[in-house]
Amino acid sequence: MTSASIGVRSDRPAELDLVRRLKDPALLLVPALAFLAFIYLLPLIDLIRISLSGPTWSSYFQRAFAIPLYWDSLVRTMQISVTVAGLCLLFGYPTALLIHRSRGIVQVLIATTIVLPYFIAILIRTYAWMVLLGRNGPVNKLLVSLGILSEPVQLLFNRGTVLLGMTAVLLPLMVLTIYSSVARLDQSLTRAALASGAGPLAAFWRVLLPLTLPGMGAGFLLVFVAAIGFFITPTLLGGPGDQMFAMHITQQADSVTSEGFLQALGVVLLTITLAVVAVAGRFLGFEFIWGGRKLTEATPKATERRAADVGRRSFGAWLADLIGWPLLRLFGRLPASCGTWTIRLMGGLVIAVLILPIIVVMIISFSSASYLTFPPPGFSLRWYEQFFSDSNWMRAFWTSLIVAAMSAGIAIVLGTSAALGIVRSRIRGKSAIMLLLVSPIIVPPVVLGLSLYSLFLRFDLVGSVFGLAAAHAIGGLPIVVVILSAALQGVDTRLEQAAAVHGASSLTVFRLVTLPAIMPGLAAATFFAFLHSFDELVLTLFLSSAQLKTLPLMLWGDINYRLNPVLAVVSTLEVLLVVAGLILARPVLATSRKAA
């Protein structure tokens, strides 16, 4: 941490050096790193230790893979994850282009339909699909009324619904990742291609596609990594033949006999995830995880790699020509508007898949029927009354609010300090530190939950509000760090210098210049950290007790037990919360963009 002071000839009094060292912004990283070391790294290391603690180091792993069930499930998990990532890419790319090409209010609307679901809990979005595809759901009704089916059939609980549900849940992630790489492109590049005589298709094939390839890669891998650890959606939408790897861990979590064996399963999942991320990071740069640009200046290593890139690219271009040109010539016969219509069609489909389930659930929450049916026979507020008068729901609601507020508080304090440390210090290894701070995003929540469970048992934190809030803050911290580092990088340091030179002390500079400038980011980060905790289910499954129930936990219990419109009420309230948050954040985000 004292790398900044190395090499300074010290002809100054010693206490001055000490003061300078204490003022080193790198020290601001300490709280967050200490927090993560205790509640995140330590449990993960412990998890690995337990998994290796059998008679021989590999005995638990051998036991796991001796049972065909687990091997099959691992293969299945990979298949499902690759398929989902592929589907997301196929439908996500046109959608990203659609957002990019539309203008004005249309663009805002389309972007909102993508972003809104992104912030709604996975549990609720999965529930919406259960409603949509249920026996009395709108899809069955539609098919029957069209005469395709003679009577409602079971559409749920098969591989298809798992793929559909997971794709729908993960699509926004893909669209936003690709969109950020499309939006970063210089508009004039496509125009230059067109002006040079390339048709729209050729311009797409030789300019747009190659330049957005890193974005596509990042999106594919992010979705893939998220899918590997998926647990909620396959549990609710899949049948017995669709068990994913993460599900085994939760199913066995309660049995004491599986100590060691269970950890070994977790380590397998963790290893696969980290291996994929490591390989991806090698090619794309680890910034793909948080969708940011490099924090440090380009290293010599990066330029070396660029030289290697050229070779790979020219081979890629040769291959693209070989396959592409005959195809292009073929498609070139089609009218030019075909491309536009393909994008509109696929984008439209994506928007429908993302927004329809939410709308259906919101309508059903006002249903007067005592069971789930769509369209509702009549409208009433009876389910809202039931929700607000049920002390169990209310208690869970308040618990969630308190936990989320505490968790957001922890994440904001630690995350802001860490972001200041990472942006303002001259510490070496910034990328590695950033990677560590952001890494909780990619660790499968199931693995994190399992590792935290033993830590919480040891320190008697299971069922404590503070413990749960701290656990949620592990995931909230990366959100805060990413948003605030970006915000801090956008702060004009000359404004701070201007304040300092005209007499403001460091604290005054922070209060009067830095804080107002990062306020929008701070507000957004607070909201997202709050939402992260408010929606969190998987860690909560491991760490809560009978006395401590959060809203998602109650929902989870009810969805598995009986599907009723009270769940739709909770979902509607959540959607309203997210919408309100986004509306509140909008002007703030808009001004921040203008300032930058």
Partner: protein, 384 residues
């Protein structure tokens, strides 16, 4: 490049405005501090941004740090401001070391290239900022802010937000903020480079007049040599982390110490010539084209070869050959308004740049035209 003359004219035309400006400030509230930089060193890895620079700045002096980008001028300014800390050496203000004093306690004013106005404050709040930080009471502060806004002709903009103003207005607000406290030292970091040419010239004059009025020591950083020549009492030319030459604008322009200064400040012809003989202080020299001319020498040089600086505007051009003239052939001629800029080659192929006033009733020289040039001993400056 012709700017000084034009500006002198503008300045004399603006005299009445300046008088009223001076009149409004009855006395010099602040007299500048002396600044001394001793053996200042700042390195980044193996890069010597500031390499043992020493400079003495008189109280109330307007001194310009001039140099290309990467020459260390901005680093030196940042060291004086306290944004960066010295690796070694010291900085004294009025004889007291300040290099360990935090920026906010140095009591300077500063104008930034990017204006650096606080976007969350109005114009008057921005200007009041240094007073607020100094704990000046509200009534006094209000009065001082109003006074300063008036000087900078910003009174009607007091309640605006900086983003509602034009670049020139924003820069005047930034200047107002820098001088509102009547600081003994005002630092200016390329304050005019974001403005368009016309605005730049008028604010140059405004800053120059302001300096006369408030008497602060001004340390001004620029890469624009015209700006440096117009505004400064003295110019320090920097290159590669060192001060190459320091002196009055006229001396820097007429008597540069080396090729770098000669070519960075103003346009120049650097002519390699052989010394034929030395008689008294006059050298007789011959260049590669065989043109023989005389030059006033400094005592150190008497034999061998030397580089001679001939400013393009000191070269006389004529259509006819004369006794002491050399033929040239025109490679380009550009009409710039009041002057002509002619590029040509001498017989040895040596390029020559000429700036001459527009010649009445004469057509613009065409490419390939043969002309005859000459210069006298007083028009040359022999470089070391």
């Amino acid at each position: 490049m012709g700017e000084p003359a034009a500006l002198r004219a503008m300045r004399s035309g603006d005299a009445s405005a300046r008088m009223s400006l001076t009149g409004r400030l009855r006395e010099r509230d602040a007299i500048g501090s002396s600044i001394a930089v001793r053996e200042a060193v700042k390195t980044y890895g193996s890069f010597h941004a500031v390499d043992r620079i020493s400079i003495d700045i008189e109280p109330g002096e307007f001194i310009t740090l001039l140099g290309p980008s990467g020459s260390g001028k901005t680093t030196l300014l940042n060291l004086v401001a306290g944004f960066q800390s010295l690796d070694s050496g010291e900085i004294l203000v009025d004889g007291r070391p300040v290099h360990n004093v935090p920026t906010h306690k140095r009591g300077f004013g500063m104008v930034f290239q990017s204006y650096a106005l606080f976007p969350n404050m109005t114009v008057s709040q921005n200007v009041a900022f240094p007073l607020r930080m100094a704990g000046v009471d509200r009534a006094t502060a209000d009065r001082r802010v109003a006074e300063t806004l008036e000087i900078m002709r910003l009174t009607e903009h007091a309640t605006k937000s900086p983003s509602q103003m034009s670049g020139g207005q924003q820069q005047r607000v930034a200047i107002a903020r820098a001088i509102v406290k009547r600081p003994k030292v005002v630092l200016m970091d390329e304050p005019l480079s974001a403005l368009d040419r016309r605005l730049r010239e008028s604010i140059q004059i405004e800053i120059r007049d302001l300096h006369q009025t408030i008497g602060s020591t001004i340390l001004f950083v620029t890469h624009d040599q015209g700006e440096a020549l117009t505004m400064s009492d003295r110019i320090a030319v920097l290159n590669a982390g060192r001060i190459v030459q320091i002196g009055r604008p006229l001396d820097i322009y007429r008597h540069p110490t080396d090729r770098f200064v000669a070519s960075f400040v103003g346009e120049s012809n650097l002519i390699e010539a052989e010394i034929l003989q030395k008689r008294g202080s006059t050298l007789t020299m011959k260049n590669r084209a065989g043109y023989v001319f005389s030059a006033e020498s400094r005592d150190t040089i008497d034999v061998g070869r030397a580089t001679v600086l001939v400013r393009p505007e000191r070269i006389a051009v004529s259509n006819e050959a004369a006794a002491n003239s050399a033929p040239i052939s025109v490679t380009s001629a550009i009409f710039l308004g009041e002057i002509l800029r002619i590029e040509a080659r001498m017989e040895g192929g040596e390029p020559l740049l000429i700036r001459c006033t527009d010649m009445a009733n004469r057509p613009l020289p065409a490419v390939g035209d043969r002309l005859h040039v000459s210069w006298g001993a007083a028009d040359c400056w022999v470089l070391a």
